[in-house]
């Protein structure tokens, strides 16, 4: 999910990930000619958690408590942010979902299986038998079609329908307000539904894991009006029991869920804030992230909390400094390359961040589909940097345009990373940079208007397990989210080829080639990939695991009351 973040905000999102293993194996995948193969799979299990006591029987019952933030929406079709996403994927569900199996990250959900026909242009889904909404009504293929069309309808107001469903034939007409019917979605019978897309796009199934493609109840929405999410009828492992803005969200086990019912009676998300470490120590919550201030203490083996400590795997994200390539001096590739070569990211990681960050030399994060170790990136090389600066059109400081890096925030301090990097540019290249901090609302407006010459404080997080979520979205010439106006015909052509390439190895190669060009063109100064974080989980919470992407978690979690 796209997230513009300041580093501190990322923790809640990162620790929101998790899933268990055992029961997911019962979600048998009976599909598919063309399921994702290992080479395109994210290694979600990179750092798995805890010393769960697997002896003894898993027990039902109990309430898991944690801190969360108010979700901007609980309507799955409107979700664009991590906070809403973390709740919505527990309550609602779609045809397919992201799972914990690194070899097959896309798992069947409401669809029991699917076939890919017509050379990759038609997906035929078979629904599970006796699928029910949380109110006991049957889920039919009619509901699937209605939900997907509703997500695209202008009245719904989804800002991401085009991104996630726009490949489906007829959906663009609905988005444009010219139709109410997606011709590409055909109901074959009560159990079979076909979805036709405009080209054989290998990432289509991955996009269906996003909440925009989740199933909602027509009657619920028609009767509930704008506040239908106060009492939503849903198909996920949990149902929404209560939402009091600024106070709490309670989700309870959905007894009509198609799979094994959740062990937990409820999950309570505390929205009112508080000092989460103190709340954890006082047994008011069961899970918390560990901030830098408490890290040293909890890492001390003699500290009682140390036994609850868990390493949270890095999220699939990349932070960067963006360059507006239409603005001098960033319109000169050599100048941009010089800026890249002049930054010793490893030194910053070691000395400034105590290795809590991972220097990024490419775009796609490690373990993510399409990550290539061959991309070396523009690693620190002072001499090369100086040579490139001298070869660039802006070697003469007296005629060089003034450089401003804009960062969002209100704290008065622009952030250590930007300051240190500006200092490295000054020391290694003699380039003076002005850092300008503007309030978030102004920042985002100027970013969209293309008014920023160079911008820091941004990061991008994967929406779905496919390299297109980074490369297409951020670097294609015509992408609205290409904030630096980077444009390279060769990259566009490689992306277009990759979109419809069915051979996975070739597809990965195409993305790697595109990424190499982007990195070499120094479209950005990539900074850090998602960082490892630390969290505490109470010993009685069993089978809570952390992953690099947010996937449905709580249905597998159980509470060992013998310890509790």
């Amino acid at each position: 999910m796209n997230k513009i973040i300041v580093l501190a905000l990322s923790l809640i999102f990162i620790i929101s990930t998790g899933c268990a293993t055992e029961d997911s194996s019962s979600n048998t995948n009976t599909s598919s000619e063309n399921q994702s193969k290992p080479s395109l799979s994210p290694n979600l299990n990179e750092k798995s958690q805890p010393s769960t006591n697997q002896q003894g029987e898993k027990k039902s019952g109990g309430i898991l408590k944690r801190v969360w933030s108010d979700p901007p929406t609980l309507d799955p079709h409107l979700v664009t942010d991590g906070t809403s996403y973390g709740i919505v994927i527990e309550v609602f569900s779609g045809l397919v979902k992201l799972g914990s199996n690194p070899n097959e990250p896309i798992e069947p959900d409401l669809a029991e299986s699917w076939k890919i026909l017509d050379g990759g242009k038609t997906y035929e889904f078979k629904l599970r038998e006796n699928l029910k909404f949380s109110n006991g009504e049957n889920v039919t293929t009619e509901d699937i079609k209605w939900s997907l069309e509703r997500a695209a309808h202008p009245d719904t107001g989804s800002t991401v329908a085009e991104e996630f469903l726009g490949d489906i034939i007829g959906v663009q007409d609905i988005i444009d307000g010219n139709s109410n019917n997606a011709e590409g979605i055909t109901i074959i019978d009560d159990e079979i539904i076909q979805i036709k897309i405009d080209a054989p796009k290998a990432y289509f199934l991955a996009k269906l894991t996003y909440p925009t493609a989740f199933i909602v109840n027509k009657q619920n929405i028609n009767e509930g009006g704008r506040n239908w999410t106060d009492n939503p009828i849903s198909t996920g492992p949990f149902t929404l029991k209560e939402y009091k803005i600024g106070q709490r969200i309670r989700i309870a086990r959905n007894d009509s869920y198609w799979g094994s019912p959740a062990y937990l009676d409820e999950v309570v998300f505390n929205l009112a804030g508080g000092v989460s470490m103190a709340m954890y120590e006082n047994d008011e919550i069961d899970i918390t992230g560990v901030g830098l201030a408490d890290l040293e203490r909890v890492e001390d083996p003699t500290e009682p909390l140390n036994k609850d400590l868990i390493v949270v795997p890095p999220s699939f994200s990349v932070s960067y400094i963006g360059f507006n390539v239409n603005e001098p001096p960033f319109d000169d590739v050599k100048f941009r390359q010089a800026l890249n070569y002049a930054v010793d990211k490893q030194l910053i990681a070691d000395q400034v961040f105590s290795n809590l960050v991972r220097p990024a030399y490419g775009i796609i994060p490690p373990n993510f589909p399409g990550f290539s170790q061959d991309i070396e990136g523009l690693k620190f090389n002072k001499e090369k940097a100086q040579n490139l600066l001298n070869e660039s059109r802006y070697s003469d400081p007296s005629t060089r345009p003034r450089i401003t890096v804009t960062v969002p925030g209100t704290g008065g301090s622009p952030g250590l990373t930007t300051e240190v990097i500006a200092d490295m540019w000054r020391q290694n290249l003699g380039i003076e940079v002005e850092i300008q901090q503007v309030e978030w609302a102004t920042y985002i407006q100027d970013l969209h208007r293309g008014r920023l010459q160079s911008f820091s404080g941004l990061s991008w997080q994967a929406d779905y397990p496919d390299p297109s979520t980074f490369i297409d979205v951020l670097f294609r010439s015509d992408s609205a989210l290409n904030n630096g106006n980077y444009s390279n015909k060769e990259v566009d052509s490689l992306i277009n080829k990759a979109q419809t390439e069915q051979d996975i190895t070739k597809r990965v190669n195409l993305y790697n080639d595109a990424e190499k060009i982007i990195v070499n063109d120094a479209a950005w100064l990539p900074l850090w990939w998602g960082v490892e974080a630390k969290a505490l989980v109470k010993p009685w919470i069993k089978d809570y695991k952390f992953y690099s992407m947010t996937i449905p978690t709580y249905q597998y979690v159980w509470i060992d009351k013998d310890i509790y």
């Binding site: 704008r226 609302a441 970013l447």
Partner: protein
């Protein structure tokens, strides 16, 4: 008196109109577009325009303002931009009630600690008691809330386990004690200063000396003559304390996990949630006007010379 109150009440809606227009106007000239903030970095010019149209932001400011006021008179303060599908009143009222309750507790502590201490310090002028009270209250006043709040939580919740580290269970629950003390004690320091100064002023008056010399009972002098006269400036301060429910409690609300209105207000500012902001200003102004009115009436009760 009734005429005075009526006059003040007639002025109230005019003040509110002016205040609300300022918020509308300021919102319009401030950089940052609500539609773009909702769309974040998924925004495209078409999406921004479509959303602005849907939110009614493309209409002229004056038209937007008057249609807002028309609805506001009927009690409809519009829909939040950020919490999709939520009415502003639905969002604000529960949070406002929490903040009001917290603020009442804070005021009680400030007044009942500050006024007696201030009075006592003045009465013991010249002894060690006076500077001890004043200095210790100044010390407490100088301690930042983001230091005292976690400290109190660590002592009373984590170490002693007397209360929860976070949460809100209403006015008549022990959970309210720590947040109320965190804001109330530094608040009491202000009352101590005002009350002390005002008492010293009164003590030196001729009529107090006269009261002593004619052999009046000490308690009678204290309560009937000194306190009653020295409390007048305090009433003004009290008015602002009661009205100031939006300020001062933000950090406390966040640290103690209290679902009050301050954080909503802060988010509304950052997110350009104009309907919420305008409603907050309207409610805040109303409270300020009403609090001042009540204080003015209280003056006439405390001091018969004021008509």
């Amino acid at each position: 008196m009734i005429e005075y109150i009526a006059k003040r009440l007639i002025w109230t809606p005019i003040l509110l109109l002016i205040a609300s227009f300022f918020v509308f106007f300021m919102g319009n000239i401030a950089p940052g577009d609500p539609a773009e903030l909702i769309l974040k970095n998924r925004a495209t010019p078409e999406k921004i325009n479509a959303l602005r149209e849907e939110m009614g932001l493309n209409k002229p400011l004056v038209i937007r303002y008057f249609s807002y006021i028309k609805k506001a008179i009927k009690g409809d303060l519009g829909d939040s931009y950020i919490f999709q599908g939520k009415k502003v009143t639905e969002l604000l009222i529960p949070k406002l009630l929490v903040s009001i309750k917290l603020n009442i507790a804070v005021t009680i502590i400030s007044v009942f600690v500050g006024i007696p201490l201030g009075f006592y310090a003045a009465k013991r002028r010249g002894s060690w008691v006076d500077p001890t009270i004043v200095l210790s209250m100044l010390f407490l006043f100088a301690m930042p809330v983001f230091f005292t709040a976690p400290l109190l939580i660590t002592i009373f919740a984590v170490k002693l386990g007397w209360i929860q580290a976070s949460g809100w269970n209403g006015f008549f629950d022990k959970q309210i004690i720590l947040p109320a003390l965190t804001i109330g004690i530094p608040g009491a320091a202000i009352y101590v200063r005002y009350m002390r100064a005002s008492t010293l002023d009164v003590i030196d008056q001729d009529y107090i000396r006269t009261a002593f010399s004619k052999g009046l009972n000490n308690n009678t002098i204290n309560y009937k003559h000194i306190i009653r006269n020295s409390i007048l400036p305090i009433l003004t301060l009290l008015g602002f304390t009661i009205a100031g429910i939006f300020g001062g409690s933000l950090i406390v609300e966040i640290i103690y996990g209290i679902p009050g209105v301050s954080r909503l207000a802060l988010d509304a500012i950052y997110q350009r949630d104009f309907p919420v902001l305008t409603a907050l200003v309207l409610i805040g102004s109303t409270m300020l006007v009403l609090a001042n009115l009540i204080i003015d009436i209280a003056y006439t009760i405390v001091d018969p010379r004021i008509d």
